[in-house]
């Protein structure tokens, strides 16, 4: 109980700091890959603090409600994860957060916002099967859906679930909003959809989106950590290595279409995920 509470408090306080620093490192690394110097490490914090002081334009009463709901569900999802709770609940809360974001974009009249929302739903359709297979795989290998039990079991999940891990890396690109799967919105400023799903947001609600995204990134890297939880230090190293890889991939690829995204994610889920699960189910147990 005590460790669960500590986990939640740490999540609420430390996750945005870590997420913001990771976002800053991402921007510097991206700049270096393009032969530029890049912004200061704390730039994402400056951006969020600036947005907090800016006037927000709202186009209707529901827009900000959905953004706050998105923020709340991301927080709830991570709180369950870092309290050592049920992986399935974590995934469902995260899904609900995504739905809120799409609804917020749909409540406006901007066509860019609408296309962003549609793409967000398509992205969710793409990554959801693999995300669930990851939880099921952890259950088959670790005999529990609880993060606590999985982390303390000492079972090297990544060795039993290499296919699931690779499939998870692929959908991680979608969730982190990185190219080639950053369909609904990415962090690169100029793009064909203006700003996609966040086009109609400004001021504090946009700052909330940024902060929620930092939280989300830390939560997703927490999933990566869980694969390596038998050795916590190795887990942290793996999570950072995966983030580095995602930034490199982000800079190396152009955006793909939604069809390729859904196809790639589903094929990965079917081949890497399902095959891995069958092997674990039939041979290892």
């Amino acid at each position: 109980m005590k460790t669960a509470l500590l986990g939640v408090v740490l999540w609420l306080i430390a996750a945005p700091l870590v997420g913001g620093l990771l976002a800053g490192a991402d921007r510097i690394l991206s700049a270096r890959l393009q032969g530029r110097v890049g912004p200061p490490l704390l730039q994402p914090f400056y951006d969020a603090l600036k947005l907090w002081d800016k006037r927000g334009g709202v186009v209707n009463r529901f827009q900000n409600f959905y953004m706050v709901a998105f923020f709340a569900f991301v927080l709830a999802s991570g709180a369950i994860f870092f309290a050592g709770g049920d992986l399935l609940l974590v995934i469902f809360a995260l899904t609900l957060a995504g739905v809120m974001l799409a609804l917020g974009a749909w409540s406006t009249h901007s066509p860019y916002s609408h296309v962003g929302a549609e793409r967000e739903i398509l992205q969710m359709m793409a990554y959801e099967p693999m995300l669930l297979l990851a939880a099921v795989g952890m259950y088959l290998a670790g005999r529990s859906f609880h993060v606590n039990a999985l982390a303390s079991s000492g079972i090297p999940l990544v060795l039993q679930l290499p296919g699931v891990f690779l499939g998870f890396l692929l959908i991680l690109t979608i969730k982190l909003r990185k190219s080639p799967f950053d369909l609904s919105a990415s962090h690169h400023a100029h793009q064909e959809l203006v700003r996609g799903i966040t086009t109609e947001y400004s001021g504090r609600s946009l700052a909330l989106f940024e902060i929620a995204h930092w939280y989300e990134n830390v939560l997703l890297l927490g999933f990566v950590w869980l694969f390596f939880a038998f050795n916590p230090a190795l887990g942290v190293a793996a999570a950072l290595a995966v983030y580095f890889l995602e930034v490199v991939v982000d800079n190396a690829y152009a955006r793909l279409t939604w069809k390729v995204t859904v196809r790639a994610a589903w094929i990965a889920a079917a081949i890497l995920g399902a095959t891995n699960l069958a092997v674990v189910k039939l041979l290892l147990r």
């Binding site: 890049g38 912004p39 951006d47 002081d53 800016k54 334009g57």
Partner: protein, 153 residues
């Protein structure tokens, strides 16, 4: 603490420029000038922007667009007119459809001369506009308007 000068997001609009100035604006993002060092992001969305950077003269066709973009930007905001045409209409000022500089339509805070305007001059103009942006932000804060949603007019 004021963070506007650490994170100015910029919206670039080509009113009726010959593209000379626009190429120079984009050059600011390249490795040689790299304005992201100062936190400057070239956003395509007026609702996210703090600085409206306009190149070219205003004509009857894009007058409404310029007004619209300016209106969609949340306070505090500044306008930078980059290049000879944006300042006064330039060589096009006698044309039948050209209204003149940007200040014929919306209030301009900084004028950056040049034909085409040099990237160094653009960066200088944008940095000067940051002081004005900070002043406007402080004024907004004093009136208690920062962070508040804009009242629909």
């Amino acid at each position: 603490m004021a963070f506007f000068k650490k994170s100015p997001w910029l919206l670039h609009y080509d009113a009726s420029s010959c593209n000379g100035c626009d190429i120079e604006v984009l050059a600011c993002l390249t490795p040689i000038y790299d304005v992201e060092r100062f936190g400057i992001v070239n956003t395509g969305n007026p609702k996210h922007a703090d600085i409206l950077l306009i190149t070219g003269a205003v004509n009857v066709q894009n007058e409404e667009i310029v007004r619209n973009l300016y209106g969609q930007m949340p306070d505090p905001k500044v306008v930078v007119a980059a290049g000879a045409c944006a300042m006064s209409g330039g060589v096009f000022q006698d044309s039948y459809n050209v209204l003149g500089g940007i200040d014929k339509v919306i209030p301009v805070d900084v004028y950056v001369p040049g034909c085409a305007v040099r990237p160094e001059a653009i960066i200088d103009g944008v940095v000067q506009s940051l002081a004005i942006l900070e002043r406007k932000a402080a004024e907004l804060k004093r009136r208690g308007g920062s962070g508040e949603p804009e009242k629909p007019s």
